[in-house]
């Protein structure tokens, strides 16, 4: 479904304020916000498809059009949260792969110049060095 009719028609006459990411958002005074709240809620509730960005259909409301409050369609807010969650999952999966890449490189380095066995420190000695001899008895 297209954008709310009411929301769209009110945007034309309203100044737009630049927001994060460069998106320009219609800016309303507090009074305009009050007057248009019902119309905006109705048009937003009719939306069937989330927008690509949370700011695509947002309206900024505040004294002297200086913002402070932002009205966004619920469907857009829910979709934005879902996108953030998905991005977090993807980031974690990518970090896992980079971590394994780090291990692969470490392995290559260690295998290229292996420390002679006699230079390795036995775990029992390490535990004593760190004052953890009590753990040896566990």
């Amino acid at each position: 479904m297209a954008r709310g009719k009411g929301a769209g028609s009110s945007q034309a006459a309203q100044p737009r304020m630049k927001r994060g990411g460069g998106a320009a958002v219609p800016s309303l005074t507090l009074e305009e916000g009050r007057q248009q709240l019902h119309k905006l809620a109705t048009s937003f509730s009719r939306l069937k498809k989330p927008s690509r960005s949370l700011l695509d259909r947002a309206h900024s409301v505040g004294p002297y059009r200086k913002g402070g409050l932002m009205l966004v369609p619920e469907i857009d807010a829910v979709a934005a949260v879902a996108r953030i969650e998905e991005a977090k999952r993807e980031r974690e999966a990518l970090l896992d792969e980079i971590e394994d890449l780090g291990i692969i490189l470490l392995a290559q380095e260690r295998l290229a110049e292996p420390t002679p066995v006699e230079r390795l420190i036995p775990i029992e000695q390490l535990a004593r060095e760190f004052g953890r001899e009590h753990l040896l008895a566990e």
Partner: protein, 126 residues
């Protein structure tokens, strides 16, 4: 469980890594040493990396995730080791590295940058 515990030994640098962990929290040292001691009885407890990547370098290489007791999030620390000579045969468990996961990520990132730079240089030379 084997009648004879496996021999677990660390690379000299791991001692410094453990000291750095101690600076974060002494309890992390307890956890790390307990983990390494447990490898004497079961060196296969770590995640086998070869299952995910068919690379020769990580043959017999495993990693363990750990953190402070009571930590609610994902474990932030890693222990990387290698079973020598082969899994399935009594041998040496060699601890390669111990520390924050972020260090391995930084290492991996740095390596990808180096690889990218080298690839770009090769392209320029052609």
């Amino acid at each position: 469980m084997p009648s004879e515990p496996y021999r677990v030994a660390i690379e000299p640098e791991v001692s410094d890594e453990l000291r750095r962990l101690a600076a974060v929290d002494e309890e992390l040292v307890d956890v790390a040493i307990r983990l390494m001691l447990a490898l004497r009885d079961d060196p296969w407890t770590g995640e086998d990396l070869r299952e995910r990547y068919n690379l020769r370098a990580i043959k017999d290489c495993r990693k363990l995730r750990f953190d402070l007791p009571g930590w609610k999030g994902k474990p932030r620390y890693r222990l990387v080791y290698r079973n020598e000579p082969l899994d399935g045969a009594p041998g040496l468990v060699r601890i390669w590295s111990l520390g924050p996961r972020d260090d391995l990520i930084a290492y991996g990132r740095a390596a990808t940058r180096i690889t990218r730079a080298a690839a770009s240089e090769r392209r320029h030379r052609r």
